[in-house]
Amino acid sequence: MTIIARRLAGHLARGIVMILVVATITFFIVRSIPGDPVAANVQKLIEQGMSAEAAQQATRVLYGFQPQGSLWDQYLDYMTGLLTFDLGQSITHAGAPVTGVLAEAAKWTVLPVLAGTLLSFLVGIILGVYAAIKRTGKLGDVLAISGSLLHGVPQYVLGLLLSAIFATLIPILPADGPVDILYEPGFNAGYLASLFDHAVLPVATYALAAYGGWILAMKSSVVTVLGDDFILAAELRGMKRSIIFRYIARNAILPLFTILALSLGLLLGGAVFIERIFNYPGLGLLLIESITMRDYALMGGAFLIITVAIIVANIVADLFYSVIDPRVRSGEEVSA
């Protein structure tokens, strides 16, 4: 435990420094993005029928939310706020705290991506083992080809295909947001069913897009383990096939757990295209909206939350590996 505690302390210290560095870089990059949001807002209001004079006035009030002072002053304010988890106020969301806006969007990203990732992981590793064991047979070929195919198709193509098939050609599933507003929120059957219905296509897209990677990685890992001496010894000892299978799976899955932890770190980044296709109002869409509107506080907050998630995932992955691999736990060097 001492080794793990020491590792954790080191990771946390490095993580905090990294977050501060990334926050600083993000702050300046975000504010260097070209484009005049004020002029754009005036034009937008004019297109909506407002007179030019009124549009300018309305925009002036709206952008009163913008942080004042020099860039350096704004930076100091931003970093001070960061220490108290205050990321400032959003312009597009009428001065709402950025943390609240991000939290609202995060749940619509995390849950579907988490569900899709775990589903693809489970299916991928199970079929990956079969693909490795049956690699000389037809089943192995079919599984390997399915993995290669789906690994090569971009997420947004899968999303568009699923949407076209199941929401337009055979309209049995919705592709228009996270839940039907007609159902009263709560633990009632209609509402839960609506949530589930609306989640099917995005979750399926995430799952199908990630499945290829998992099955190929698991197959490769299992093939490597199959050649290890302890498997040969087990076979020579006449162990049951089911026990040998468990040996193989346990040893082959270790590196995949690390990848899984890192994948979960990317959850908060969302999948912009998937969220756009299915009108899922998560962090990906929020990020695009904030960039379009040059909502600096929201943009900075969105980038920061993604960064923090990745750093945390790295720490978790490392600690997790320490826990599941006895060699790491004991401080022994392990070759990658």
Partner: protein
């Protein structure tokens, strides 16, 4: 497989739990009586999208107040072709505008009630006007000397309010500015305004440090107004916001609405969107009862038209799109080059490619949309140069400008290459299609051309304003008020600023002057014209006084061509007749208002 099923079930439950945490537990049963028209499904294309955490606040940039549904104004501006002061009733049942435009007296709906049962009274209007001052727009500007600003707001009785105009800088649009006011309940919103608000407002109208401080205080209140979130939506409109999630908003019928008996739908569902393609899909699937116009390629438009019940209604839209020049750059400083391009570009073809459903080719380039142009300048319109597609005339104009044609290609006067570089923001598919078509036409006529797509609209506007482009697209002819029409050509972007009735001209490249046209133009048959000053005169001119000024400006724009008017937009609305009837007629002025206004006026009926 059992384990897998368990995991899936757990994930489903987790998802439900998280989503439930943000929702309320209100009853979905309709609160309104009568009608029984069911669910009306629509989309608000003029807004940036729903915001689940947004307030029911008409001033919030991304709130959940929907014009004509749960958000009400004193009256609904008709956008009449020539008269800015015509309205449909809203909170106000009737109104009287003084003959000299010095005041408007508003009589509220006698049976008007808020959704919580309290009557709509004059004090609600006064409070709403106070709130409007804090966002400082239209008649309630606090900028000293602003055109058309209100001077006094007087509660005459419980149902009557009188608002007078500051006649030191009057505007024809004063009454419009007043009637265009959001009205919210004083018993919900009143706490935002401090007790001394009206005294502060009085002080702000003076000069000196105290006045400046008062103005700052009032504008600071604006931020509170924009962010204010009433705990519950209290509406005087036909509907009340029940709840909203990130994908949809639900409004229920307001039984206290003064015309509730004629409001057909029990519920209204607003769908969210984050791109045109989602609206296309909704329309193709026949999901929407109504949607405003969204540009769509021909195949998508055909798909939409094939949906059962699909229908479009078309009418006047007071906007045109122009190909605008940066006259600080050669050869666009030469009017013959601009005229040559006007002759060379076939506007019919451009419109057919870029906006067949949403535009009609401009019959000439006058700065005014074709339809109000008939009303404003009448016979003068026929006297303007139509710039019909004519390659010979284009060639003659280019030669007049000193351009040279070598081996079938036009070069600048000194023989150096000439390439027309057009810029458009990414995502503006109709503009990009138009520019691509123009490029093809130019190249065919020997003028080298290219289209450069810019990252997005904010970048486009910033770079346009900084004078980086030679040629860009620019919205113009924004009616119906005459001043609004011409300030797009002869306003800030071309050097003229109009502050408190005083017109100043900035040199090209300064203070947003990217068009860089001449300050004075010699117009054939008219004489020397300062178009910026003439435009400013339109602010206070009566309709009759405005007509000769409009004629002069149309001639100036037609001769000098700061922009080539390409097509006039057409207001195209998508409706679906499968569930509701009673839609506005083709060309109805109601098309410039939301379907919520149609519903509250009692037009929309459930299909039997």
């Amino acid at each position: 497989m059992k384990r897998l099923a368990a995991v899936v079930a757990l994930l489903g439950l987790a998802s439900a739990t998280a989503a439930c945490s943000g929702g309320g537990t209100t009853n979905t049963s309709g609160s309104g009586g009568g009608g029984g028209g069911g669910l009306f499904t629509t989309i608000d294309v003029t807004r940036p999208g729903l915001d689940a955490s947004g307030p029911a606040n008409p001033w919030a940039p991304k709130g959940n107040s929907f014009q004509g549904y749960n958000a009400m104004k004193l009256g609904w501006v008709k956008n009449h072709l020539t008269d800015p002061n015509q309205f449909y009733p809203g909170i106000a049942a009737k109104w009287e505008i003084a003959p000299d435009n010095s005041s408007i007296t508003i009589h509220l709906q006698p049976n008007g009630k808020w959704s919580d049962g309290k009557p709509v009274v004059a004090e609600d209007v006064r409070t709403s006007i106070g709130l409007a001052y804090t966002t400082g727009s239209t008649a309630f500007a606090i900028t000293p000397g602003a055109a058309g600003a209100a001077a006094e707001v007087t509660v005459v009785d419980d149902k009557t309010v009188k608002v007078t105009q500051d006649m030191s800088n009057p505007s024809m649009k004063f009454a419009r500015g007043v009637m265009d006011t959001w009205v919210v309940p004083a018993h919900v919103w009143g706490s935002i305004l401090p007790a001394n608000f009206w005294d502060t407002l009085k002080t702000s109208r003076g000069d000196g440090a105290d006045a400046e401080k008062a103005r700052e205080e009032i504008l600071a209140l604006g931020q509170k107004v924009l962010a204010f979130a009433p705990p519950k939506d209290v509406s005087a409109g036909p509907f009340v916001l029940e709840r909203v999630n990130p994908g949809e908003a639900l409004l229920l019928k307001n039984k206290n609405f003064y015309n509730a008996a004629n409001v057909a739908p029990d519920q209204v569902k607003f769908l969210n969107y984050n791109g045109n393609e989602q609206i296309w899909n909704y329309l193709s699937a026949g999901k929407l009862d109504h949607s405003g116009f969204v540009a769509a390629p021909a195949d998508v438009m055909n798909r939409i038209k094939q949906a059962p019940g699909s229908n479009t209604i078309k009418g006047f839209s007071p906007v045109a799109v122009g190909m605008a020049f940066n006259q600080s750059k050669k050869p666009y400083d030469n009017v013959h080059v601009r005229r040559g391009l006007a002759y060379l570009i076939d506007r019919d073809q451009v419109t057919k490619v870029a906006s067949p459903e949403g535009g009609t080719p401009a019959v000439t380039t006058s700065g005014i949309h074709q339809k109000p142009a008939q009303e404003w300048i009448g016979a003068e319109l026929a006297a303007l140069e139509p710039y019909k597609h004519d390659l010979a005339k284009a060639e003659a104009e280019f030669k007049e400008a000193g351009l040279q044609k070598k081996d079938g290609k036009w070069t600048l006067a000194d023989g150096s290459p000439w390439k027309v570089t057009m810029n458009a923001p990414s995502g503006f598919s109709d503009w990009i299609s138009a520019q691509e078509n123009i490029k093809s036409q130019l190249i065919e006529a020997g003028v080298d051309a290219e289209v450069v797509t810019v990252a997005d609209y904010p970048v486009y506007l910033e770079e346009l304003s900084a004078g980086k482009y030679d040629v860009g697209f620019w919205l113009m002819a924004l009616g119906p008020a005459p001043y609004d029409i011409f300030q797009r050509l002869y306003g800030v972007s071309n050097g003229w600023s109009n502050v408190a009735g005083k017109v100043k001209h900035s040199a090209p490249g300064k203070s947003g002057n990217w068009m860089g046209g001449p300050e004075e133009i010699d117009v054939e048959g008219v004489g020397k014209v300062n178009p910026g000053e003439l435009t400013a005169e339109l602010n206070a001119a009566s309709a009759e006084d405005a007509k000769p000024i409009m004629a002069k400006l149309a001639r100036t724009a037609n001769q000098d061509l700061p922009a080539i008017q390409l097509w006039d937009y057409v207001n195209t609305q998508f409706t679906n007749t499968a569930r509701f009837t009673g839609w506005p007629e083709q060309d109805s002025d109601l098309l410039r208002l939301t379907a919520g206004v149609w519903i509250q006026l009692g037009m929309i009926k459930a299909k039997q």
